[in-house]
């Protein structure tokens, strides 16, 4: 027994010594979401296997997006790996800013990555970022409050049902709010949510000639519905709430329903963080019967900026963090409910994972999202909660601010839409559309 352990230790030491000669310190920029925080906690495993050290730069979502975009466009070279999403990857890949990931080893099994994720993280068929986790959005709701209201959540509800249920669940005196939705301005915050929602109301950002469509009736319906619903059944100060704020409210038991990223499911059902862990149900994001649901498609992925001096070590990290082994590692340490979801097909075939209450709904939500045909009427862009053009982030942040101000009661929905229409038209004209 001792001999075995000693031999193991000696082998580990030899491996470590031989790799340590080439050991690098890589700097990784990432978002402060739970799964990434978990990844940081497990970094020792990567260091033990490869000898490479990791330095983390963990930032809030909006800040991360600006930091990495600035760094890569100005060729700042601060990071060896960046956490980016489906919006940035194809645009940056096209600009030649990212190292292609088409030479990953066979055991990595690229074909195991969900096709929707692989497609969204590629440009011209070349993979430029590996998905750490993938997500769609869905309804997370309190089963006890639903029961109390005498309602039963259908698997695929309509907005009408959701709004009605939200109003019935609301008990402001006891700080129970029927629905929590993103209201904080930002293209990845409220603009993402409202854009996905608008798809189900038949709205779109641009027509086929790239003309902004905020003056349409469908947009007016979307924004008015959203504002009225949050005013009636949302928490106070909803216009300041993003993903993390709403997560915290839901975990404190203050939200009857929350429509947001599927990845939140593991946080709201985790008894050590959530006071309502055993009372959460899941359903598909709502629709209005027009054929599109209001769920999105997103992947937080790891990519290597072109020009980094530590490409080999960075690739080793990406292989480690997005591999099947990493999923096993998290499962071993934190349980199957906490593994990064939505990226690999094999996870959903795993018998251990099938029992997780949100697994089925997550996969269904991801599979029902089609970034190539996101809207009821045809559009010239790809992307569900965004339009994959370089100008989108800048425009949508400003549009999001107008929506947020409308939600806060500083202006009407119509005023916000008129401003959104004008500023989008300005920016598109400046960009040469």
């Amino acid at each position: 027994m001792y001999l075995k352990s000693a031999l193991r230790a000696a082998t580990a030491l030899t491996v470590f010594a031989s790799t340590a000669a080439f050991a690098e310190t890589i700097t990784i920029a990432t978002v402060n979401n739970g799964d990434m925080i978990r990844m940081q906690g497990l970094t020792e495993d990567f260091t033990a296997k490869t000898g490479h050290e990791v330095e983390w730069v963990t930032l809030e979502e909006n800040v991360l997006r600006q930091r990495v975009t600035t760094d890569i466009s100005a060729k700042g070279g601060q990071f060896d790996i960046m956490t980016i999403g489906m919006y940035e990857t194809p645009i940056w890949g096209k600009n030649g800013w990212l190292v292609p990931l088409n030479d990953l080893p066979a055991e990595y099994d690229v074909d195991d990555i969900l096709p929707a994720m692989r497609g969204g993280l590629s440009h011209d068929g070349t993979l430029f970022a590996a998905p750490f986790y993938g997500e769609s959005s869905m309804i997370m709701y309190r089963t006890d409050l639903m029961e109390k209201a005498g309602l039963e959540m259908p698997a695929a509800p309509t907005w009408e049902f959701v709004a009605d249920a939200a109003r019935q669940m609301t008990d402001k005196g006891n700080e129970t709010y029927g629905i929590c939705l993103r209201g904080k301005a930002g293209w990845g915050e409220n603009a993402a949510f409202i854009t996905a929602m608008s798809n189900s109301f038949g709205a779109r950002w641009f027509d086929e000639n790239w003309a902004p469509q905020f003056d349409s009736e469908a947009w007016s319906n979307t924004l008015n519905f959203y504002i009225n619903l949050l005013n009636d059944a949302g928490p106070p100060g909803a216009s300041n709430n993003g993903f993390n704020e709403n997560l915290s409210l839901f975990q404190q038991g203050k939200c009857g329903m929350w429509i947001d990223a599927t990845v939140a499911a593991s946080f709201v059902t985790n008894p050590s963080d959530s006071t309502v862990a055993d009372k959460v149900g899941f359903a598909l994001a709502p629709d209005t019967g027009l054929g599109k649901r209001s769920n999105w498609l997103w992947a937080w992925a790891l990519a290597i900026p072109a020009g980094t001096q530590k490409e080999a070590a960075a690739k080793e990290f990406i292989e480690w963090a997005t591999s099947k082994d990493y999923i096993e590692l998290v499962a071993e340490n934190e349980g199957w409910a906490n593994v990064p979801p939505g990226a690999r097909i094999s996870l959903y075939e795993n018998a251990n994972y099938k029992d997780i209450p949100f697994a089925k709904m997550t996969l269904e939500s991801i599979l029902s999202a089609d970034p190539n045909n996101p809207t009821v009427d045809p559009v010239p862009y790809v992307g569900i909660q965004f339009a994959a053009i370089p100008e989108f982030a800048g425009i949508a942040t400003q549009v999001g601010q107008e929506f947020s101000a409308a939600l806060a009661g500083q202006q009407t929905a119509e005023e916000a839409l008129a401003k959104a229409q004008a500023l989008t038209a300005d920016e598109m004209e400046a960009a040469g559309y």
Partner: protein
């Protein structure tokens, strides 16, 4: 008296520092000017050529420009008003003999040492949050509906946060000035039967005018470029987009370096106008 020789030696020795400082200021300024005449879109291939004054016209005609100037001036004005008035009041109070004076003074000055980002985060999450914040609990304790400070009274909230940070600075400068006030003059006025308000209006306040000028000048310079508090609390929503924030949005969020640079040039011009204006009006006090 310095000889010709020692004077040239001094010049040579100072030259590196002067050149360094000049470069420090001139390089960014020249680059801002250079980019402001270019169509420079990093996400669309970078440098797309010269565009003359296009960026300047576009920045000025954008619907966000005038509201941002207005927001900037409102914040600067609001903070100055609060810090000067409360600063005078606090300085008078702290000048009174009291038990534990040293500790009280340190406590009053303390907010100035808190980083703007940290204080903004504390205000946002611990005080102003409409569900979990201290104010919300206070409001609820009195049976009132909690206020969403940062969205319903966004500018006022930011003015409050920034004032809290700058009040110690104003107090400190004004307290120093009050301490230099000749007490005999005040006593004489008191013996002549001047009431406290008159003593304050005719003796203390004129004596403080020079210190108030310093406070206004220094704070204005810093407040014109206020950023961190807005970034942390509202990210430019709800009418809190100042000129600095607008420039940031143009350059970093919209990735339009040319347009943002033109905005930068406007900001420099605005800052200079305000500075000259202030020097003219209040600078006289410094000469007196």
């Amino acid at each position: 008296m310095a000889t010709q020789h020692s004077r040239s030696a001094a010049r040579i020795m100072m030259a590196p520092a002067v050149i360094l400082l000049l470069g420090w200021m001139l390089v960014p300024l020249t680059m801002t000017l250079y980019f402001s005449f270019k169509k420079y879109l990093p996400l669309r291939g970078g440098d797309l050529g010269w565009v003359g004054f296009d960026n300047y016209a576009r920045f000025l005609s954008s619907s966000a420009f005038w509201p941002s100037v207005q927001a900037t001036l409102t914040i600067v004005g609001g903070v100055l008003l609060i810090t000067v008035i409360l600063g005078v009041f606090l300085a008078l109070l702290l000048n009174q003999p009291m038990w534990g004076q040293g500790i009280v003074r340190i406590l009053v000055i303390a907010p100035f040492f808190v980083m703007p980002t940290v204080s903004a985060l504390v205000w946002k999450n611990m005080f102003m949050d409409p569900v979990n914040g201290l104010f919300a609990h206070l409001w609820k304790a009195f049976g009132a509906e909690p206020v969403s400070w940062l969205s319903e009274a966004s500018l006022q909230s930011i003015i409050l946060i920034v004032s809290w940070q700058w009040l110690p600075f104003a107090t400190l400068i004004l307290l120093t000035a009050i301490q230099s006030l000749d007490s005999e003059q005040l006593e004489a006025a008191e013996m002549d039967g001047a009431p406290p308000v008159a003593r304050f209006g005719y003796i203390t306040l004129p004596h403080l005018s020079r210190a108030i000028t310093v406070v206004v000048l220094i704070q204005t310079i810093f407040l014109l470029s206020i950023f961190a508090e807005i970034f942390v609390t509202t990210q430019g929503s709800f009418g809190t987009k100042t000129l600095t924030y607008l420039i940031y949005q143009r350059v970093l969020e919209s990735q339009n370096v040319g347009l943002g640079s033109a905005g930068g040039v406007y900001a420099i011009i605005l800052a200079n106008i305000v500075a000259i204006f202030l020097m003219r009006i209040v600078g006289k006090n410094l000469d007196a």
